[in-house]
């Protein structure tokens, strides 16, 4: 009995999932997929590629050849782990920092560069045709995910919408409105909050008084789980479970991936203004790539030679993509009208002509 003898009518709990310790040792029996050495290696490769790609993108930005860019440094395991548990026919609704998920799903590196280079053609990408582009207004893609999942349910399609956003986004009504609706209709959708501890300069403790983000799903009526977001095995395992449950008609799930943003928020940010260097240094010890490498090396699944070969491959792949990006011809100004409406309304024909240099406007 609680205070005043009133009965407790509900209790909730939030679980935390982790397999690989920061030094690569194992905490608990691994999930089934982890016995597949080639799968683990592919997760590792994807994270390393992402880190290389990020480094190059920042260099391009610094030399004026790319616009503002958001790196995944330190949180590579989240987007790679989540995307690796999806099927091709599922739909991804990513935020601007989920490059790793898009790349896993087949989006070309040069397309991502095009997008951050300020060219909409980057969003006409080679990934699954129904995947959403990066969402820039924070959290506003969550209602889309609910709408997408509603369409799946209405058509009885065994597909799942996977929506990714940051810890800051969980403060927005959009996110809660979408989660609430998904709960009501038991929609096949998985919400993933990448809790990298910071929303630009605002730390989690100023974002919410909630002990975990995972518990936010409890109010919406479905399971929320916390995972070690720097442990790609844990992220993938949680995603597999959640996506399978959603596909199976059990309704939505929420995953809080607890990780750390080791880099600046974007290339326009200087995190040293608000974040102590010691905090960052301490977090480097937990980062996901070294962790998985230590595990793989310990299991004799990965060698120094493998590492060198991967480095060379990544370099080559990234450089080739950059070349293709830089060689992409700019478009004519009039093309800004081309996808405004299905057919260009009569009222805008003159404006388009003006941009094409054919009219006097």
């Amino acid at each position: 009995m609680a205070d005043g003898g009133l009965p407790v009518i509900a209790r909730f709990e939030v679980r935390h999932r982790n397999y690989l310790a920061p030094d690569g040792s194992i905490n608990r029996p691994l999930p089934a997929f982890a016995s597949d050495a080639s799968l683990l290696a592919s997760l590792y490769r994807a994270m390393v590629l992402l880190r290389n790609f990020d480094r190059k993108a920042v260099a391009l930005q610094r030399t004026g050849r790319l616009g503002t860019y958001a790196v995944s440094l330190g949180q590579e395991a989240v987007s790679v782990g989540i995307a690796s548990a999806m099927r091709e026919e599922d739909v991804l609704l990513p935020s601007y920092r989920d490059n790793g998920a898009l790349i896993w799903r087949g989006v070309k590196l040069e397309e991502i560069l095009l997008f951050w280079g300020g060219d909409e053609r980057g969003n006409h990408f080679s990934g699954p045709v129904q995947d959403f582009p990066f969402c820039v207004p924070v959290g506003s893609q969550a209602p889309h995910a609910a709408g997408v999942a509603y369409a799946f349910k209405l058509r009885k399609e065994p597909r799942v919408a996977v929506c990714m956003y940051g810890d800051g986004a969980t403060s927005k009504g959009d996110v809660y409105e979408a989660m609430n609706f998904a709960g009501v209709h038991k929609l096949p959708v998985v919400f993933v909050a990448t809790n990298n501890q910071w929303a630009i300069s605002v730390p989690l403790r100023l974002q919410t008084a909630s002990e975990t983000l995972a518990q936010k799903s409890i109010a919406a009526g479905f399971i929320g789980e916390q995972v070690d977001g720097s442990d790609v095995v844990a992220v993938r395992a949680a995603a597999e479970d959640a996506i399978a449950a959603a596909r199976d008609g059990q309704g939505p799930r929420f995953i809080e991936a607890v990780t750390y943003r080791l880099g600046d928020h974007t290339t326009s940010d200087d995190a040293s203004r608000y974040r102590p260097e010691e905090e960052v240094q301490a977090r480097w010890k937990e980062e996901p790539i070294a962790r998985l490498r230590a595990f793989l090396a310990g299991q004799k699944m990965w060698s120094k030679a493998d590492e060198e070969q991967l480095a060379a491959e990544c370099h080559e792949r990234v450089e080739a993509a950059v070349e293709r990006y830089l060689a992409t011809e700019p478009r004519g100004g009039e093309t800004m009208f081309d996808y405004l409406y299905a057919d260009l309304p009569e009222a805008y024909v003159a404006q388009r002509r003006q941009l094409a240099g054919e009219g006097d406007g």
């Binding site: 909409e120 820039v136 369409a151 209405l154 979408a178 996808y339």
Partner: protein, 326 residues
């Protein structure tokens, strides 16, 4: 042919669209068993089931965002926002997503959704229920903004909006939901979007309006006729993109223009039309372009709302004044 009210015409169009196309989904607050607070969706849930006529939680941003997600998946969602004053949380979704996802993805994803809402003052409604924010919406590239002014046009334009491959905000003039009656054949035939309707021809002055204000505008044209002034009346119907050709053609004929809207004056859509005429119709003009609009205030509650809205007298006076120039 049956005589129906404007809101019944909306209902007919929704039913027809749902009958013809299994992808059409109606969603909003109280749209199910209650048939919507204005009864626009009455009977639809019984006929098409709760999955296609969906009572949503009370969350407007969600309704518009769900529409985006559904539309991108190839459904044809028709969302209802109970009153225009509650549409403002949807602006984020309309501006940042619905209206531009085709452009952002260069045609890979499209958003064939409709968001319907009652529009305008004059029904003695509580605070926040009488908004006329069409100019705000008409400023959004990639969107269509449509306002019918009769049962016939409500039916035909709503069908067109639902069939349109791009997002449409469909503003229904609350004040004439029941006051406007007309014969509507449930033929399934749409009317064209982006096209203005000339409701009455005349040589002396052009009166341009949309939605419920056409009631006063037409009455003003009658009064002017009694004075020997032949007014041409244009129902703009689609505000984004709007039919510049019909507007300029009429000005070329009459040389005089009075624009009537109940929305507040500054930055209202009347300013856009006046600017168009100044840019491309100036040489036809015999008199300054006049605007008869609501005032630059918050739309007042019941006791003052009639004073806020353009009256027949104000329209007649503006037209008369225009005709004094020659």
């Amino acid at each position: 042919m049956a005589e129906v009210t404007l809101v019944e015409a909306v209902n007919l169009a929704l039913a027809r669209a749902m009958e013809d196309d299994p992808d059409v989904v109606v969603l909003g607050e109280d749209v199910g068993i209650n048939g919507g607070v204005f009864r626009a969706t009455v009977g639809l849930q019984a006929r098409f089931g709760p999955e296609r006529v969906l009572d949503t939680p009370l969350a407007e941003l969600l309704i518009s965002g769900l529409c985006v997600g559904m539309a991108v998946q190839g459904l044809k969602p028709v969302g209802e926002i109970q009153f225009m004053g509650f549409l403002y949380p949807c602006i984020d979704q309309l501006v940042n997503h619905a209206s531009r996802i085709r452009n952002r993805t260069q045609g890979r994803l499209t958003c064939p959704m409709v968001l319907r809402t009652p529009h305008g003052a004059g029904i003695r409604a509580p605070e926040h229920h009488s908004e006329s924010a069409e100019a705000m919406l008409a400023h959004i590239p990639g969107l269509r903004v449509v306002i019918p002014s009769s049962p016939e046009r409500a039916y035909g334009l709503l069908l067109a909006a639902i069939r349109d491959p791009d997002p449409v905000v469909f503003l229904e003039p609350t004040r004439i939901y029941r006051a406007a009656k007309g014969e509507v054949e449930d033929s399934g035939e749409a009317l064209p979007l982006d096209v203005a309707f000339v409701l009455r021809e005349g040589r002396d002055v052009t009166l341009i309006s949309w939605g419920a204000m056409l009631k006063e505008t037409m009455a003003a044209a009658d009064a002017l006729a009694a004075e020997g002034i032949a007014a041409e009346v244009i129902d703009l119907a689609t505000l984004k993109p709007y039919d510049e050709v019909t507007v300029l053609g009429s000005i070329a004929k009459t040389g005089r223009c009075v624009i009537v809207h109940e929305a507040t004056r500054t930055g209202g859509f009347g300013a856009e039309i006046a600017a168009l005429i100044a840019e491309r119709g100036l040489t036809s003009l015999l008199a300054p372009v006049a605007r008869v609009t609501g005032y630059d205030t918050v739309i007042p509650m019941a006791r003052l709302e009639q004073k806020f809205m353009p009256s027949v007298d104000r329209i007649v006076a503006a037209a008369r004044k225009a005709c004094q120039f020659s």
